[in-house]
Symmetry: C2
Subunit: 543 residues, 2 copies
C-alpha cells in the first residue's frame, strides 16, 4: 500500500520532533491523506467515522489520594503535577488500532489521574517512593507509542494511576568519542537524540517506524528494532549501560561492554516495560554519520526465493544497512499505487516480490559492500530494479502510520502484527498466521488483504510483519480482537515468539506466559517483588 | 613466554578429548616441559616442588546422608554414584594456580562427597530434587576447568556435596542446517562437540584456552570467550536456546533468535554458574568449516599504537576471525625464546608489540577481508611480519596451560587474570593493574614479570589479560592472594569489570558484588530463591 501519497517526503535527518496528540498520528502539519486506491481495494462503505473528538471524551475525576498529590507537588513543584483534560487524554493508552478506536469511541477509562514530569533521576526516585507509599500505580512514558497496551495498567487495587512523562529528561549527557558511546537521558525523543548526535558527527542508527514519536527510554524498555537493524543492530544490541530508578533505589549497569561477571543484567532491564522501575539514562553505541548511501529495489520471483537471498546475506554476509522483503501481496499493492515503492520508478517486472536494500557508511566501504551484496543477491536469483524503488521506500518510510487515520475515517480497519522465528520455520509460520487472519476475518464477513514482509534478519532467523486491511464491522474492536487471538494462537502453535519488536504490554501477556512457561515467569516475578515490593510499577503489564 | 617448546603442536581439529586428572593440566601424552629461558627469567631457586601426589591427599570420609545416597542410587544406578578416592580428587576445585597449589599441598577439603553421572535431563531433575530434599549442595561439572573457585561451594549448613558430572550428556542432539544451529548436550566437551560438528561440515568456532578440557555447559554457565571471538563471537553471543534443570523443574528458553517478548531470559541463565540449576542442553549457532585461512604477525611500535589499530578494526571493520595484541613485555618474552611466537620465524623488528590476526572462511571472502584488514593495520602504522608468527601462535595456542605445571615444579609462581573496559579507559586500567601486581609482589621480595595482551575486542572496548611470573615464596597461595587482591582493587577503582571471561566463582564474589551493587544483587538472589528455594545449587558461588 502506498504510504506517502501526496505528502511531504521525510528523512531521518529532517523530521520534526513531534508531540503526539491523541488519537491521530504524527505531525499535524503533515496530515495523512487517503490514497484512492486504498479505499477501493477493500470495498469499505465510505461512511465517514471520525468518532468522538478528544475534548469531548468524558474522563472520570482524578482519583489520586490528596496526600499523594501533595507529596508529588512538594517533590516536583505544582507545574509538574498535571491533570488537565487534554494532558490526561494525550497520555491515555498508546497507538494500536484498538487504542485509537477506543478513544474515538469516547472511552477514556484508561486515562491517568495525574501526569507528572520529573526533571531528574532523583525526582523519578522520589515519585516512585511516593507512589509506593500511597499504593499508586506508575506508568513510565516517553513517546507514548506502545501498540500492545503497555501504557494501560490494571488499576485494580491501586489508589490511582500516575503517568511519569520523562519529557524533561532530554539531555545528551556525554559522548565518549574514543569508545564511540553516548549517554542519553531516557526522555529524549529519537528524533531529538539523532539531532543532538548529528551535531557532533554521530548517528544512533535507530529508526523504528514510530521514530516521529518514540523515545529512548521506550526503545530500551520494549527492545525496539529499527529499519536499519541489519547494519546498526536492534536497540537492545546497542545498549552498553543503563540507569534504572526503582522504588527501592537505583541500579546502574554496564561496567564494561562485555563481561563474564554473572548474568548480563542489562538484559533483565531491557524489555522490562516499566514493571521493574523507570529507566532514566541509557548509554548506547554511536557511529560516524554515513557520508554515502545506496538504496535499491530488487525483484525476486517469489517470497521463498527472496527469503533465501536474505538468509544468504544474514548467514554469510555481507550485511547491508537496511534489508527487507515484501511478499507477493505487499509488493502487488505497492506496485498498484503510482506513488508506492516500486511504483512509477520501477521499470522492472511486475509480480513477484520486492526487496529493498540500503547500504550506508564511508564512501569506499559502501561501494565495496554494495558490490558484494549485489553479487549475493544475483546469485540468489534477484534482479536489480535500480535506485528508484529503494529511494522511494527510504524517503517515505516514516509515513505509514499517517495512513491509518484516514483509513479508519473511511471505515477501513487496518492493523499490523509481527513475530519472529528460525529460518527453518519461517515459511510455515507465514502460512499459518496468514490463514488465521484471513479465515477469522472472512468468517466475520470482512475478507481481508493480508500483506507480509521481512524487515529484520539474523543468522538463525527473521521477523515477519503482517499488515491487515479490511472493511470495519459495527464493532471493529471486537472484530480485530478475534483476528488477533487467532493470529496469536497460530504464532504459539508454530513455536515462534509473540513479538519481534512490539513488546508484550497487556495485549500479549497470556501468549507471552505460554511462551516462557510458569517457572521462568516465577523468576521474573521474583525480580519484580525484589525491586518493587508494593507492585506499583506498571501493574498488569508483562507479568 | 614460549608455550610450546619441544611439544607436539596442536590444532583445534587435532586435539584429543582429554579427561583432566588433577592436579596437572591436559593430555598426559603431551606433558609440559620447562623452557630453559623461563626459569632463568625469574631467578627461581631451582628446588623441585612437585608436592603431594593425588593418591596421597587425605580426604574426609564421604558425609552424604544414607537416605540421600540411596535415593541417588535408586535414581541413577549404583554405577553412577561414585565416591572412590581418585574420582573425588579429580572433581576437587578447578585449575587456578591456587587450586593446583592447594591440592599439591595435600589439601583435599573441597572434595565432593559423591560424584554422580546422570544420563538424561530427567536424571538431572531427579538429582536436584533429591539434593533439595536432603539439603545437599550440588556442583555442576563439565570440564572442571574453573579458575575462579566455581567448583568449590561453601558447604556450611549442608548435609554434603554432590558433584553432578554431565559426562554422559554428550550428544549432538540435532543440527538445523537451514537456521545454522546445533543443539548440544551440556556434558559434551568442546573438543568432542567440534569433532561431531566437523563430521557434518560445521564448526562452533569456540576455542578458549581451556579447550582441551572444558565443556558446553561450562561455556554457557560462565560466559566463556574463545580465541576466535572476533570472528565467531563470545559463547553467550552464540547461544540461541537453553534448557535449564532447576530444583523446581525445567525452563526452556529460545523460542526465536531475537524477540521483544520481555527481558531476554537466556541472559539470566548464561553466566549463572550453577546457582540457578544445571544447564543440560544448549542450542548454538554453527558455521560452515572454513576452507581457507591466513594467520599473520604484525609489528606495532608500542601498545597504544597497536590498541588503536585493533580499535579501528572493531569500530569500522572489517573484523578478522582472530585479533590479539601482546604488550611490549609479552612480546619481548616471546621473542626472547627461539620457539616462541614471533621467534625464529620473525625476520621483523624486535621490540615494540606483536599483534596476531587470523582470517578464516570461504576462500574469496578471506582474501578480500584479509586485504581490507591489511589496509587498516597499515594505516594504523603496523608492519606485517608475515605468516610465521601467526602460524606459530595458531599451532601453539592450546599449549600455554601445559607450561604452568613444570614452572610450579621449579619454584616459579605463574598465574593469569583478566578484565575488560571501555576503550577510553583501557590504557589507564593497564597501568593501574600492572602497578598493583608489581608493587605487591615486589614488596614480598618476589619482583614479577607482568605481561599483558588484548585478545577480545568490541566496538566500545576490549579485554586485558595479564600473565604474572615470579619466584614462589614459602607460602605461594598467600603470596598470590595478596597480589590478586591488589589487582581486584585496582580493577574496581578503575570502574572496569572483574572478569571478561573467567567468571566470578567464589574468588571474585566480593568484587562482583561491589561491581553490580546491592539492589542488582537482591534481584539475582530473588531469582535464585524462586528457582532453588532450598539454596542447594552451588552455594557460595556468585551470589
Amino acid at each position: 500500500m502506498n504510504i506517502h501519497a501526496d505528502s511531504p517526503r521525510t528523512d531521518e535527518t529532517a523530521l520534526p520532533v513531534v508531540h503526539l496528540r491523541r488519537p491521530r498520528w504524527g505531525d499535524p502539519a503533515t496530515p495523512g491523506e487517503l490514497p484512492a486506491a486504498a479505499a477501493a481495494l477493500v470495498g469499505a462503505d465510505g461512511t465517514e467515522r471520525r468518532g468522538v473528538a478528544p475534548d469531548d471524551v468524558v474522563l472520570a475525576e482524578p482519583q489520586l489520594p490528596v496526600d499523594a498529590r501533595s507529596a508529588l507537588v512538594e517533590a516536583l513543584g505544582e507545574h509538574h503535577v498535571i491533570d488537565d483534560h487534554r494532558s490526561r487524554i494525550d497520555h491515555t493508552r498508546g497507538y494500536s488500532t484498538p487504542d485509537i478506536l477506543a478513544l474515538r469511541s469516547g472511552d477514556g477509562t484508561d486515562a491517568p489521574d495525574v501526569v507528572v514530569t520529573p526533571g531528574s533521576h532523583d525526582d523519578v526516585l522520589r515519585v516512585l517512593e511516593i507512589c509506593a507509599e500511597h499504593r499508586v500505580a506508575v506508568v513510565p512514558f516517553t513517546g507514548g507509542t506502545s501498540v500492545v497496551g503497555g501504557l494501560a495498567p490494571d488499576r485494580t487495587g491501586f489508589a490511582g494511576v500516575v503517568t511519569v512523562d520523562l519529557a524533561r529528561l532530554d539531555e545528551l549527557v556525554d559522548i565518549d568519542e574514543i569508545s564511540r558511546t553516548a549517554t542519553l537521558q531516557a526522555g529524549l525523543r529519537g528524533v531529538r537524540a539523532e539531532e543532538l548526535l548529528r551535531a557532533k558527527g554521530y548517528t544512533l542508527g535507530h529508526f523504528p517506524q514510530s521514530y516521529a514519536g518514540a523515545g529512548i527510554g521506550g526503545y530500551a524498555a520494549t527492545r525496539s528494532a529499527g529499519q536499519s537493524s541489519a547494519g546498526y543492530g536492534r536497540f537492545d544490541d546497542m545498549v552498553e549501560g543503563m540507569v534504572l530508578a526503582t522504588p527501592r533505589g537505583t541500579i546502574a549497569l554496564g561496567a564494561a561492554p562485555k563481561s563474564a561477571a554473572g548474568p548480563d543484567l542489562r538484559h533483565l532491564v531491557l524489555g522490562s516495560e516499566g514493571v521493574l522501575g523507570i529507566i532514566t539514562e541509557v548509554t548506547v553505541r554511536v557511529h560516524p554519520v554515513p557520508d554515502h548511501r545506496v538504496f535499491e529495489g530488487w525483484h525476486f520471483d517469489d517470497f521463498d526465493a527472496g527469503a533465501a537471498a536474505l538468509r544468504a546475506l544474514a548467514q554469510d554476509g555481507p550485511m547491508p544497512t537496511v534489508l527487507r522483503l515484501s511478499d507477493e501481496m505487499e509488493t502487488a499493492i505497492n506496485l498498484a499505487d503510482p506513488d508506492g515503492a516500486g511504483g512509477t520508478d520501477a521499470a522492472g517486472p511486475t509480480g513477484g516480490c520486492l526487496a529493498v536494500i540500503g547500504v550506508e557508511g564511508a564512501h569506499d566501504e559502501v561501494e565495496a559492500r554494495h558490490a558484494a551484496v549485489t553479487a549475493v543477491l544475483e546469485r540468489a536469483g534477484g534482479v536489480s530494479m535500480g535506485e528508484g524503488p529503494g529511494e522511494s521506500w527510504r524517503t517515505g518510510r516514516f509515513r505509514a502510520p499517517y495512513l491509518r487515520d484516514p483509513l479508519l475515517d473511511a471505515g477501513v480497519l487496518v492493523e499490523t502484527l509481527e513475530t519472529v522465528t528460525y529460518w527453518s520455520r519461517l515459511a510455515d509460520l507465514k502460512v499459518l498466521v496468514t490463514a488465521a487472519l484471513t479465515d477469522t476475518l472472512t468468517a466475520a464477513g470482512t475478507a481481508p488483504l493480508v500483506m507480509c514482509h521481512i524487515s529484520h534478519v539474523y543468522p538463525a532467523g527473521a521477523s515477519l510483519y503482517f499488515t491487515v486491511v479490511c472493511p470495519q464491522t459495527d464493532d471493529p474492536i471486537a472484530q480485530w480482537a478475534a483476528a488477533k487471538t487467532a493470529a496469536n494462537d497460530a504464532i504459539r502453535a508454530a513455536g515462534a515468539s509473540i513479538t519481534h519488536h512490539h513488546a508484550v504490554g497487556r495485549d500479549h501477556r497470556a501468549t507471552y506466559h505460554a511462551e516462557i512457561g510458569d517457572l521462568a515467569l516465577d523468576a521474573l516475578r521474583a525480580v519484580k517483588v525484589a525491586l518493587d515490593p508494593a507492585g506499583v510499577c506498571n501493574p498488569g503489564i508483562l507479568i
